[in-house]
């Protein structure tokens, strides 16, 4: 094979991604002769240097650019790592006031939007139902022509522009542009936004979204507000919540009131399982507007739940600084939200836990579903001459009942600026793909007083030889170009392009911008947006139909309203609650399931007044027994006939309609079941539809990573009740039992040295003789030429919320393939089903989030239960069971205490995995990393993202968490270059860096100056399966339970 190298990374020729150099197993295939195992012999390829070498870039060394995230409305700050001209990883910007360096899974997956193989490469036009690619010039001409005709036909006034909601300059620029053409202001759409909450915030605090300070609360009450998975600004809320929990003894208790226990609910100390809409009754009871006992019956609680509610009432009564939040999406959403606000006001929240003074501006000016629906009706009436969509997908995100397609077809001229082949673009006449946010200039206003900047981190992935600009223009540039064509509008847009426009408007001009770019943020305010139009009255709830069950639909924490579905990382990432991926499922309470004779995986038909869908059942303790819950996000379909995608013979120019190969025909779109109805806040009613469920008789194995949801008393994820925290260590047997390893940390000596042998006292300090003696390559005690280190990690379960952002961070850093796509299965007599490999336990994520349930063993409704999340990765044991069994030393113990996997030595006996108690080793069953195979996980240009410092594994080898050894080596190289030692906390690993809860700490346990070395001595510290004498390098700190719930068994 031709083997481009790190040096070929320098090429501007995209046909040679530098990462191919790491696909080594393709070379060491059957072609390699038995003895001459030296791979030097094959053609070394070419070295293509730069023409002119760019400033301040060193080949093979990363450059970092600050930018702003566009994956949701919050607009967190990013640091984008680029290597030789390609973005390879996204991390949070530590200097950013909103996310302080943390980033969620969706934000990190923006890369797979940037490199998505199904992005439009060229403008396209729909001519009589057939799509053909056109030049940029042609596209612009067609656009101006369309605008002109709209003007002449006098329909310009009816124009609708649906833009993905964003803060910053662009929306205002857009409105000026529309205005210059005599068109109305655009609709700033965010289908994920909780309109009721925003409306209530506006009324109660005067801002759309105040900063929520969980740290300062003494009690957190959530009425179905999933502030850890999608409700509001995810990352800052999670950071703050984790900080609050980290106060251990002084941390606020957290009670969740709602029909479905979401990820947020699972993090609560107690769950009050009311029926959908019953939150209002509970809230009123807490406000004293009704007796608690009455509330138990009215809210549809199980009598067993009454105690918890009473407890909550007393807590609320005692609370000085409560934090009550409501995320109800039912017909009474606004009422609950207002009640929650009232509760806050009554218990001294405003100003302490709720800070209207520092609002998150990302939620200002969102046009809510009612306005979108109004626009749709306007289209249906034929009053709309031109319609634009950019980054929103109403054809998928609006209920089928709204019949968007029909209304849209009435529009004369439909233009899409979306860069992915989604359902709405397919209905358009002209597609002018926008640049990805990582390729374009822009700004955002995440929080008052701070402007976040967006800058291109690399050349556009799909360049064109357009004559307008050297490279594909962003939508803003397109609009400017169009405006310039028309003599009337031209004067309004003097600037050459959007960038120069931004500079002109920027405080301090170009110099100011250059000064601000390195940090990515600058103090200042953008002019305020026009407040959104008042919401109309609520629509009739009669349309909710009848049925013995209530359907709860919720926004998926990973796929959002569906926009994340085309990113394999997000598809592959198991849902934090159900642990299912690549699919849609129906959550139903085990009791109800038993009553209806439904087993896990039975295909159910869910019928409502609006329609019916078929999806597999997932019995889940955390839903009210009279409800079923289905997530939004999947079910992307193309309106045309879609041939099954064939990775082996794919035509780059064939558009993958239905939102791309990774999301088309996956699961179902639950919005087909929802009637059109909005609450008083203007949001779509998601949790009030009545539904009935019937078994179809079909069955499927759920693509889930969950083995057993119970720990069987094995003490893997341990917890401690808050009142036991200060109990003196040691003491009676029970104490020992409940705090293993606490009295005398038996594992500490083992952790302080590279090898567990130390703990057993037969290694000791390096002496002259064991220096000189050469015991060969595999002597763990051989510390020649290096400091005595033991790389170790602590995971604070009190902080961990189970959000799974660490998993995506790991995938991005370590070139971990996604294996769930339906074509990534064997060829012959193997069913090509999405997630089949996952269903067979063949997932590859090096770090996984285990979600165990405690208590309520018979799955009775009303009995409370506890969920425990524990990130499980290679424990880098000092006494690693995997090491002695490998026949070829492919896994061995490094002198700095790492348990190393040498891919190119592995022959694939898989014995190491058999012998691993933690089951953290993953095998390459297929050639996921070998280009040209149908299972290839990185089709061009996804492979541009691959980390050049990490080998892409070929088929037949074992792989596992390496403690990001490439980062360790990088730090060592840097230190050596500067002639110093690696400094304490100088670097960290990918999962620790990405964790929005700051739950993971990495470092050298042998050097007391590292944070980790101090944390391993914590009284909550324990080892998983300590009794196996593995001397792991990963130390877990116990979760702390606040309301001593009966469910918390000491060691289980």
């Amino acid at each position: 094979m031709t083997a481009p190298t790190a040096i070929t990374n320098m090429t501007q020729d995209i046909k040679k991604p530098g990462v191919k150099r790491r696909e080594f197993l393709k070379v060491l295939g059957l072609s390699t002769t038995a003895i001459a195992a030296t791979a030097c012999s094959e053609d070394a390829g070419h070295l293509i240097p730069y023409l002119v070498s760019p400033d301040q870039t060193v080949p093979g060394v990363s450059t970092y650019y600050a930018s702003t995230c566009r994956e949701c409305s919050a607009a967190c700050g990013l640091i984008v790592e680029t290597r030789d001209g390609r973005a390879i990883k996204i991390e949070g910007n530590p200097d950013h006031p909103l996310n302080h360096g943390a980033l969620c899974a969706r934000g990190q997956s923006a890369l797979q939007g940037l490199y998505n193989p199904d992005r439009f490469r060229m403008p396209m036009v729909n001519e009589g139902g057939t799509w053909k690619a056109i030049t940029w010039e042609d596209a612009l001409n067609r656009l101006s022509a369309g605008l002109a005709s709209a003007k002449t036909s006098g329909k310009a006034g009816g124009t609708v522009f649906m833009n993905q909601h964003e803060s910053g300059t662009f929306p205002r620029f857009l409105d000026t542009w529309l205005g210059s053409l005599g068109m109305p202001a655009h609709l700033s759409v965010d289908f994920e936004a909780d309109s009721a909450a925003i409306e209530a915030n506006q009324r109660s605090y005067g801002v759309a979204w105040p900063f929520l300070s969980f740290k300062d609360a003494d009690l957190i009450v959530s009425f179905s507000a999933d502030f850890l998975d999608g409700w509001g600004a995810n990352v800052p809320q999670q950071l703050d919540f984790a900080d609050a929990r980290a106060k251990l003894g002084d941390a606020p208790a957290f009670v969740y009131v709602g029909p479905r226990r979401s990820l947020t609910g699972l993090n609560a100390d107690s769950w009050i399982a009311c029926k959908p809409g019953g939150e209002l009754v509970v809230a009123n009871a807490l406000l004293g507007k009704g007796s608690v006992d009455q509330a138990v019956t009215d809210a549809g609680l199980d009598p067993k739940n009454a105690a918890a509610l009473k407890k909550l009432a007393t807590l609320v009564a005692a609370s000085k600084h409560i934090l009550a939040v409501s995320g109800v999406r039912g017909d009474n959403a606004l009422d609950v939200a207002l009640a929650a606000a009232e509760l806050n006001k009554a218990h001294g929240a405003v100003g302490t836990t709720i800070k209207p003074a520092q609002p998150l501006l990302g939620f200002e000016g969102i046009a809510h579903t009612d306005q979108v629906l109004a626009a749709v009706e306007k289209m249906r009436s034929g009053a709309v001459g031109v319609a634009f969509v950019r980054g929103v997908n109403p054809a998928h995100a609006l209920p089928k009942a709204a019949n968007f397609a029909d209304a849209f077809s009435k529009v004369g001229f439909k233009v899409s600026f979306t860069s992915f082949p989604d359902e709405t673009s397919e209905l358009c006449d002209l597609i002018i793909p926008d640049l990805h946010s990582l390729e374009s200039w822009g700004d955002a206003e995440p929080i008052r007083g701070t402007i976040g900047l967006m800058q291109p981190t690399m050349d556009p992935v799909f360049k064109t030889n357009s004559r307008i600009t050297v490279m594909a223009p962003s939508t803003a540039d397109v609009l400017i170009q169009v405006a310039k064509k028309d003599a009337a509008t031209a004067p309004k847009f003097p600037a050459a392009d959007y960038r120069s426009m931004l500079i002109a408007a920027f405080p301090g001009g170009a110099a100011g911008l250059d000064a601000a770019l390195p940090k990515g943020i600058v103090a200042g305010n953008l002019p305020n947006r026009a407040p959104r139009a008042a919401a109309p009255g609520k629509s009739t709830a009669g349309a909710m139909g009848t049925g013995d069950l209530t359907l709860i639909t919720y926004v998926s924490p990973l796929l959002g309203d569906g926009r994340g579905a085309n990113k394999p990382w997000l598809q592959e990432l198991p849902d934090p609650v159900t642990k299912i991926c690549w699919s849609t499922w129906v959550e139903i309470h085990p009791e109800t399931a038993v009553r209806l004779g439904i087993d896990r995986g039975d295909i159910l038909e869910v019928k409502t007044a609006a329609g019916s869908v078929k999806a597999p059942a997932f019995p889940y303790l955390g839903v009210h027994k009279d409800t079923i819950a289905i997530p939004i996000g999947q079910g992307h379909r193309s309106k045309g006939a879609t041939p099954t995608f064939n990775p082996m013979h794919q035509d780059k120019n064939q558009v993958q309609w239905g939102y791309g190969r990774y999301s088309r025909n996956l699961g179902v779109n639950v919005l087909d079941l929802i009637p059109v109805g909005t609450d008083a806040g203007g949001g779509l009613i998601l949790t009030a539809t009545k539904a009935s469920v019937t078994k179809t008789g079909d069955h499927e194995t759920l693509p889930s990573t969950e083995g057993s949801a119970r720990q069987h008393g094995r003490g893997i994820a341990q917890a401690i009740n808050v009142e036991d925290l200060n109990r003196p260590a040691g003491g009676d047997e029970k104490a020992e039992e409940s705090l293993p390893g606490d009295a005398s940390h038996a594992f500490l000596p083992g952790l302080r040295s590279p090898v567990a042998a130390d703990a057993q006292g037969d290694f000791g300090a390096p002496t002259a003789e064991n220096h000189g003696k050469d015991k060969g390559l595999y002597d763990p005690n051989d510390i020649r030429g290096m400091a005595k280190r033991r790389w170790a990690m602590t995971v604070d379960l009190a902080r961990c919320t189970g959000c799974s952002a660490c998993v995506t961070a790991c995938n991005a850093e370590n070139n971990i393939p996604t294996v769930g796509a339906y074509w990534q299965n064997a060829t012959i007599w193997a069913d090509q089903v999405p997630g089949r490999n996952i269903a067979r336990g063949r997932e590859m994520n090096w770090i996984r989030l285990e979600r165990y349930f405690e208590g309520n063993p018979d799955a009775k409704f009303g009995e409370d239960f506890e969920a425990r999340f524990i990130p499980m990765m290679c424990q880098h044991c000092g006494n690693a069971p995997c090491e002695p069994v490998c026949p070829v030393y492919a896994t061995y113990h490094s002198p700095d205490g790492l348990n190393v996997q040498v891919y190119n030595r592995c022959v694939g006996t898989r014995y190491c995995s058999n012998n691993c108690p933690y089951k953290v080793r993953y095998f390459n069953w297929f050639g996921y990393g070998e280009e040209g195979r149908k299972q290839y996980a990185f089709p061009e240009p996804l492979n541009w993202q691959l980390n050049p410092d990490v080998t892409v594994r070929g088929k037949g080898v074992m792989e596992k968490c390496s403690f990001c050894v490439q980062r360790i080596r990088e730090a060592e190289n840097r230190a050596a270059l500067e002639h110093r030692d690696v400094q304490p906390d100088e670097f960290t690993v990918a999962c620790a860096q990405g964790c929005p809860s700051r739950a993971i700490t990495f470092g050298d346990a042998a050097d007391p100056n590292w944070t980790v070395a101090q944390q391993i001595g914590d009284k909550r510290a324990y080892h998983v399966f300590e009794e196996l004498n593995t001397y792991t390098a990963v130390v877990y700190l116990k979760k702390v339970n606040h309301l001593a719930s009966a469910v918390t068994a000491p060691r289980a």
């Binding site: 083995g707 720990q711 063949r842 996984r848 299972q935």
Partner: protein
């Protein structure tokens, strides 16, 4: 009959049961040669059988080719079950081998008379079984083309196999076993090959046989060396019966996995191996006996004796099963207890019960002498034993892995057509060799059978006069009948 100057001075060899008891139906040496050498001519049925065997082999071969191209994912592995049908079948075939060595070597040392007629078959079975088993460690690899990294060869990179890994021990155990048992088989064959050489007319075949017989001339000196060598090899092979399968059992016993990590494994595996081997001996010899009309060689007494051995090992295996449970029960190790509970009452109960019924319950029928002396029943029983022993290995490998320490990673296992194809192929491979063997070389040690016969009548004995073993002296020709 008179026993003056017999080829064996001092009359009959000791400890060989007298012909009257042993082979009542055999009159003289010539009959032995005629009947046994007579089994060699290929027949239609043989060709049919060989065809089927080769077909199975082709199926297995193509399945493996596909697996190498596609990756191990083509097989049915479902993590955490990282080992499956291949390792199960590997242990199964290694086990088959052991009865062969036991019968041919150990029982030779014990002078157990009933081995005479069946040892050649079982010894051949051993060699071919080991040849079959040896394939699996390679074809279950993720990168089989790298298998040679398990062999210690000097290289500039200073890299060697890991002496701590049981898999490396396996390599040595299997190679040793293959070497010894094939040598043993060959040595035992030499006098018989000589007989065939002398009866052979086709010059081509004759020269090949001459080559193989190493110029055996049946002289007294040769017999002396032969018996020494044979005795020595028998003594050498006997410990292998214990050691090889102990090493194989270390693959499991040395691991942490609940259900594997048990000190009882070596004896337990050895007993199981012999048990399964005897099962396979029945499966092979009983049809052979019928097809070749050798009922008067492999007598009911022989079968009876073998059946007793079978019954004995069956009870040993049964005891081992019980011990496993008892150990788990009394260990106080909840991982272990969970696993064994799961084994008999959990998701794998069906496999465990197949194992228990086939290996422990059905063989109890052998307490009845009627059944012991009923070849048909023995044949049917032997099929059940083979099945049961395959499932014993399955129960050891798969349920243990699917139900390990980490509940979150508990899983299932569903083999695919590739697994089954390769399993089938292994039988094809085994029977192909075996069928080729029985038509090229005698399935019974003529020389040893003759030892068990009454000596021939006296005749002048001198070194010049070459006595081809069994080749009948002209002067004796007339007096025979």
């Amino acid at each position: 009959m008179a026993t003056s100057a017999s080829p064996f001075p001092g009359g009959q060899r000791p400890n060989i049961p007298s012909a009257a008891v042993k082979f009542p139906a055999i009159k003289d040496y010539e009959q032995v040669d005629r009947e046994i050498a007579g089994t060699l001519g290929p027949s239609l049925g043989w060709f049919a059988a060989l065809g089927i065997a080769i077909l199975c082999l082709l199926v297995g071969g193509s399945c493996w080719t596909y697996q190498v191209y596609e990756g191990l994912g083509a097989a049915g592995y479902q993590p955490p079950v990282m080992w499956g049908v291949y390792i199960v079948t590997f242990v199964f075939w290694i086990g088959i081998g052991h009865a062969g060595t036991l019968i041919s070597a150990s029982l030779y040392l014990f002078r157990a008379g009933f081995r005479t007629s069946i040892y050649r078959v079982s010894e051949a079975m051993t060699v071919f079984a080991v040849m079959t088993a040896g394939l699996f460690p390679i074809l279950h690899l993720g990168r089989p083309w790298k298998f040679f990294w398990l062999i210690p060869y000097p290289n500039w990179r200073l890299i060697w196999p890991n002496p701590k890994s049981p898999l490396v021990w396996d390599v040595f155990a299997i190679l040793t076993y293959l070497t010894i048992s094939s040598t043993f088989l060959y040595i035992g064959l030499i006098p018989d090959i000589a007989i065939l050489r002398d009866r052979e007319t086709n010059p081509m075949r004759k020269s090949i046989l001459a080559m193989l017989s190493l110029g055996w001339r049946n002289s007294d000196r040769e017999w002396r060396h032969f018996t020494r060598a044979y005795l020595f090899l028998a003594a050498f092979a006997t410990p292998l019966v214990l050691s090889v399968h102990s090493v194989v059992s270390f693959d499991f016993a040395m691991a942490l996995t609940p259900g594997w990590h048990a000190t009882i494994f070596p004896p337990y595996f050895v007993a199981g191996a012999i048990f399964s081997g005897i099962g396979m001996v029945f499966t092979i010899t009983i049809p052979l006996r019928k097809a070749f009309h050798l009922e008067h060689y492999i007598t009911l007494n022989d079968l009876d004796a073998a059946a007793k051995l079978c019954l004995f090992t069956s009870t040993v295996v049964g005891l081992a099963y019980l011990t496993e449970f008892q150990v788990a029960w009394m260990s106080g190790n909840h991982f272990e207890q969970d696993y064994f509970w799961n084994r008999v009452f959990g998701q794998w109960a069906w496999a465990a019960w197949i194992m228990l019924i086939c290996n422990c319950v059905l063989p109890l029928s052998l307490w009845s002498q009627k059944l012991r002396r009923n070849p048909n029943w023995l044949f049917i029983l032997s099929l059940f034993i083979n099945l049961g022993m395959w499932f014993e290995r399955f129960v050891i490998v798969v349920p243990s892995l699917s139900h390990e320490f980490e509940p979150w990673q508990w899983g299932a296992y569903q083999p695919t057509f590739v697994d089954y194809g390769i399993l089938l192929g292994s039988f094809g491979w085994f029977f192909m060799w075996f069928l080729l063997f029985i038509k090229q070389l005698p399935v019974m040690a003529m020389a040893e059978i003759k030892e068990a016969l009454p000596p021939r009548m006296a005749h002048p004995f001198d070194d010049e006069h070459d006595l081809t073993a069994g080749g009948v002296d002209p002067s004796y020709e007339g007096g025979a009948h």
